[in-house]
């Protein structure tokens, strides 16, 4: 009635911006100066949100990227503030120096960027798992220091869950993209249970040691080590919790080894075809997997022709890695599509945070309830005089309007304030205006219970580790 003719204030909504630089736009000399160590993250976050017009802020700082995600009143001013903030993190940096390296995104593009970063689609090695953990850390820091609010909390949670979806529904992180891990992947195609297998490490080359470490992480329990220098083998044996074997006896030990990792500086073949033939015979034809990571090669190539012996050299492993990279790129295309879907959902949610539609939805909900109750009571009372009818209707309208008066006034008043999204979110929850579902039909309780659970456990969810993936890059 009167309410629907009232002028509804058009409220400009908050803007989301993303400003930063990454391995794609800035050399390491710039990135390293901008990076914020964990110990100073809190201080930096407070400084960021101290700027006029920045309502919420999250800072992601890794060795490959430094990015600020913020909710601001005004996009242009916001960009300027964030750039100022970034330049201030290091004394030797000026705003002008930074400009050529920075990228700037707003709203949909900013959210898209966040989601792509989380899903490791923007990483140097596509699909690497570290970035998601780093993003979770950044999120946790902003929660601890209370610099993120309704908007960024929701977006970061969505980014994290979208990233998990990408990881489980595509093969983007499934395959090995390093030579040492490719060895593990191949071993798993020969042996179904690595924990019953024995590894023989010949020589102390870096790559072989790394491969041995991956194999141990994947279940291998028994490790034998031999190096030309006996002291080296003993030290390595301690490190890998294995046994050292004298160098001139290791060929006999091959009969016990399911996996032989060879990487020495020798200029000739250390393991000849005859040695492997003998080992396979003594193993009663149990398969043996040999990896030669040495250049020049240390295992005679003719071993390839021996039944039940599987020899792979550095070129084979590198070829495998290249194929896997190709596969990841293919999967990345699929992942981009998923990210787009998720971004669209988040944009929808963001739109619902506007004050205006919330006021409309709230009024509609109240009107629906009122009308339903009036119909019910009229049906029960039977015939009534027009006066009686209008008295009942008037009563219902009065109650509804008085009850809504406070919330509506507050929403309108807060429309321009920093906390507007919080009030909108609160109103939506109090009155069950969840736009994810058809608003009028669903009762408020289940929607509330669900979102409560979601909101209450962000940090708990953060603690979970990223499943799978190869522990290749060091944490920045």
């Amino acid at each position: 009635m009167a309410a629907s003719h009232e002028r509804i204030p058009t409220v400009h909504r908050m803007n989301i911006i993303a400003v930063g630089l990454s391995h794609k736009t800035a050399p390491v000399e710039v990135r390293e100066r901008l990076a914020v160590p964990e110990s100073r993250l809190g201080e930096a976050l407070h400084r960021l949100c101290g700027y006029q017009g920045i309502k919420e802020g999250v800072l992601l700082s890794t060795c490959n990227r430094v990015e600020v995600y913020a909710v601001v009143d005004d996009v242009e001013a916001g960009f300027a503030r964030v750039q100022e903030f970034l330049a201030d993190t290091h004394l030797s940096l000026s705003s002008e120096q930074l400009t050529p390296h920075l990228y700037w995104h707003t709203d949909g593009r900013a959210i898209g960027h966040l989601f792509r970063v989380a899903a490791s689609l923007d990483s140097m090695v596509i699909g690497e798992p570290q970035i998601l953990g780093q993003l979770k850390d950044a999120f946790e820091a902003s929660l601890t220091h209370k610099t993120s609010g309704v908007v960024l909390n929701k977006l970061l949670q969505k980014a994290i869950s979208a990233a998990k979806r990408v990881r489980t529904e595509t093969k983007i992180a499934e395959t090995a993209v390093s030579v040492s891990y490719a060895a593990v992947e191949l071993a798993k195609k020969i042996f179904s249970n690595l924990s019953e297998k024995t590894v023989l490490l010949v020589g102390a080359g870096e790559m072989a040691k790394l491969a041995a470490k991956h194999l141990i992480n994947n279940g291998v329990q028994r490790v034998m080590i031999t190096t030309r220098n006996p002291q080296g083998a003993i030290e390595l044996a301690q490190r890998f919790n294995g046994t050292s074997i004298p160098f001139d006896e290791f060929r006999r030990a091959m009969a016990e080894a399911d996996i032989v990792l060879c990487s020495t500086g020798a200029a000739h073949y250390l393991i000849r075809a005859a040695d492997v033939e003998e080992a396979v015979r003594r193993r009663m034809n149990r398969p043996i997997f040999l990896i030669d990571i040495s250049v020049p090669r240390n295992i005679e190539p003719a071993v390839k022709d021996i039944d039940n012996a599987f020899l792979f050299d550095i070129d084979d492993l590198e070829m495998r890695v290249e194929q896997n990279r190709e596969e990841r790129r293919r999967e990345a295309v699929k992942a981009e599509g998923m990210v787009e879907e998720e971004v669209a959902i988040s944009l929808q949610w963001l739109k619902s945070l506007d004050v205006t539609p919330t006021i409309v939805a709230l009024r509609k909900r109240a009107e629906d309830i009122k009308q339903a109750e009036i119909d019910k009571v009229m049906a029960r009372l039977g015939h009534l005089s027009p006066q009686e009818r209008s008295a009942i209707e008037g009563l219902a309208s009065a109650i509804v309007n008085k009850l809504l008066h406070g919330p509506l006034i507050t929403l309108k008043a807060e429309a321009h304030s920093a906390g507007s999204s919080m009030y909108v979110e609160a109103a939506k929850r109090f009155f069950g205006l969840d736009t994810d579902q058809s608003p009028a039909a669903t009762p408020a309780e289940p929607a509330l219970a669900r979102s409560d659970k979601r909101e209450a456990a962000p940090v708990a969810a953060l603690k979970q580790n990223v499943p799978g993936g190869e522990p290749e890059q060091k944490r920045a």
């Binding site: 195609k189 020969i190 179904s192 009663m284 034809n285 390839k304 039944d307 599987f310 495998r320």
Partner: protein
């Protein structure tokens, strides 16, 4: 009723085979669930076909070649579903389902009427059941052997294609090969003994030294040697794969010979 179920089973196994072969060649894992679903429903209709046939006949209908082949196909799918549930090796279906379909189609081609058995042959189903179950073991070993040789070849030639990514680890296939023989061999042994007793009961002699019986004994001896070789001198991996493929070829040839002889035909 049994005929309806039987035809439904053929259609479902046909679809299952198609889906499983498509699954084998495609990068995506999505088809595995469809293939499995179709196969499971097919197994259900197959079970119903066997049961309703027995109910209608009022006896255990496992005497004719049609019945034996249908039962073989059913048991093969049963073993596949069992391994699938335990190990989730979908790709096994891509190899077993075609075999199950071929057996079922050959059952369809054979005379389908319920044979009227002389009273002395009433227990011949014991012989048929056990021999067929033993043969299922050899069939699974055969399939594991083929898969082993393919994966071995791919690893050796470093062709990391879709097939490579779908096939299970070599030692899994070798173990499947071993377990199938270890289970199949005693079943076949008891099956042959049961057959000999049935023959003695019906005809008065355990062995009539006809070519099929000789072939069956040769097959039995072959698998005996294969099993002993594995357990004592390491006939595993590639050699075991080759031997079990040859052995199963022998089994199939024997069966074809027996069928052709029994039904006149060209033989």
């Amino acid at each position: 009723m049994p005929v309806t179920f039987f035809i439904a089973t053929i259609i479902l196994y046909f679809a299952g085979t198609g889906f499983f072969l498509a699954y084998l060649l495609r990068r995506s894992e999505a088809l595995s669930q469809v293939s499995l679903g179709v196969t499971a429903v097919g197994f259900l209709t197959h079970t119903l076909a066997l049961l309703t046939r027995m109910l209608e006949a009022g006896q255990v209908t496992l005497a004719s070649f049609h019945e034996a082949m249908s039962f073989f196909s059913w048991a093969l799918v049963l073993v596949f579903l069992f391994v699938e549930i335990r190990h989730r090796i979908h790709v096994l279906g891509s190899f077993i389902l075609p075999l199950a379909l071929i057996s079922l189609l050959s059952a369809a081609a054979l005379p389908k009427e319920v044979p009227t058995l002389e009273p002395v042959l009433k227990t011949v189903w014991v012989h048929v059941t056990l021999s067929m179950l033993g043969t299922v073991g050899f069939a699974v070993a055969f399939v594991a052997g083929i898969m082993y040789l393919i994966q071995d070849g791919l690893l050796k030639s470093k062709r990391f294609n879709v097939l490579y990514s779908k096939l299970p680890p070599l030692d899994f296939l070798d173990r499947l090969n071993q377990q199938s023989i270890v289970m199949g061999f005693p079943l076949l042994t008891v099956g042959i003994i049961a057959g000999a007793f049935s023959a003695e009961f019906a005809r008065g002699s355990y062995l009539s030294w006809n070519p099929e019986q000789l072939w069956a004994l040769v097959t039995w001896l072959f698998y005996f040697v294969v099993l002993m070789g594995r357990l004592t001198v390491g006939w595993r991996a590639k050699r075991a794969a080759y031997l079990t493929i040859i052995g199963f070829a022998g089994v199939v040839l024997t069966f074809i010979g027996v069928v052709l002889k029994a039904h006149g035909g060209v033989a």
